[in-house]
């Protein structure tokens, strides 16, 4: 029965968008204020769902309770947002119900680790992840459009590099 029901891409996107708007307005999910100035005066809030920001919040809470001398990020949520834990659980339930496990051997673990470090640093410089950039663009924010344009250029450059490396030799 599960094989016949397949979620289309635009349906997934629509539900993610509405859920994040709901989470922000009904449950008042927002980053903490920065140096006394409320966060929504410097940039739009748009905090319903973001991979990098919620990961930073979880790491922050973990570090604050276990190693109390290191508290990484000055901006973190007023309320701990558990969306990442829910994401892993939901994906695991879906993989079990359709039996689509794909266990592959690790080709190059060190390279994957370095990619993770770099992507996290650039996401911190940008201040968002692709989902949050789209949410900020729905707020009609100028900086979000600049971020989307830069991401498009970066994606095209990386794809051309991969095509040259695979096709040229």
């Amino acid at each position: 029965m599960s094989q016949k029901i397949r979620v289309k891409t635009w349906q997934a996107g629509l539900i993610v968008g509405i859920l994040s708007a709901l989470a922000q307005s009904v449950y008042n999910l927002m980053p903490k204020s920065v140096e006394g100035v409320a966060a929504y005066k410097l940039a739009p809030v748009a905090y319903g769902f973001c991979m990098f920001c919620h990961v930073r919040d979880i790491v922050n809470i973990f570090m604050r309770n276990v190693f109390s001398f290191m508290t990484p990020a000055p901006i973190s949520a007023v309320i701990p947002a558990l969306t990442i834990v829910g994401l892993l659980l939901g994906a695991y339930f879906s993989a079990i119900s359709t039996k689509s496990f794909n266990v592959r051997k690790t080709v190059n673990p060190v390279l994957a680790f370095i990619y993770g470090l770099l992507v996290a640093s650039f996401a911190a410089i940008l201040g968002a992840c692709p989902i949050r950039i789209v949410l900020r663009a729905a707020y009609i924010d100028v900086i979000a459009f600049v971020g989307i344009a830069a991401m498009i250029v970066g994606a095209i450059v990386a794809s051309e590099l991969l095509l040259k490396r695979a096709g040229g030799g």
Binding site: I5, K8, W10, A12, G13, L14, I15, G17, I18, A21, S25, N28, L29, K41, L42, A43, V45, V59, M63, P72, A73, L82, T83, G86, L87, L88, L89, A91, Y92, F93, T98, N102, V103, R104, P109, A112, F113, Y115, G116, L117, A120, F122, A123, A124, I125, L126, P130, I131, I133, I140, I143, V146, A150, M151, I152, G154, I156, A158, S159, L161
Partner: protein, 150 residues
């Protein structure tokens, strides 16, 4: 009160994770496929997300004090639209997309792949979580020096 909010975000995360795995979408492949191969399969996710968020904001912006100035949010606060924030956004976007396409996935896709047992995604996630600490220790000082210049 905070317990109810945390549980609500957990349930929202479960729904989003289930949908994302069933539809096999990736948020950065949308731009790559559309501008190289004219393939609009993953671009529909991004457009659907923008439309859904816009609809949600239009419906709900009367209920919270946070979005009091929602329509046409052009911020006039001093220091909000300065040159340094534009440059930071441009640099961050370039580097993010470059390395994300090289590693074949955005972080959301890697979370979903790790639950199906892909070995590279698990190491990517370990690096992503350590990247928060790495940023705070090393990179943020460079960014602070950069901001003081402009």
């Amino acid at each position: 009160m905070t317990l109810i909010v945390s549980l609500a975000t957990l349930i929202a995360g479960i729904i989003i994770g289930y949908l994302w795995q069933r539809s096999r979408s990736c948020s950065i492949s949308g731009y790559r496929d559309f501008f190289l191969f004219r393939d609009t399969l993953f671009m529909r996710t991004i457009i659907g997300m923008a439309l859904g968020a816009l609809t949600g904001y239009l419906l709900f912006y009367r209920f919270t004090p946070l979005m009091a100035d929602f329509p046409l949010y052009l911020h006039n606060e001093p220091g909000a639209n300065s040159l340094s924030s534009l440059i930071l956004a441009a640099i961050g976007g370039l580097g993010y997309a470059f390395f994300s396409v090289l590693a074949e996935g955005c972080p959301l896709r890697q979370h979903v792949n790790a639950t199906t047992g892909n070995g590279m995604s698990i190491f990517y996630l370990i690096g992503f979580y350590c990247g928060v600490l790495f940023f705070w220790l090393i990179v943020s000082n460079i960014v602070n020096i950069f901001i003081r210049l402009f």
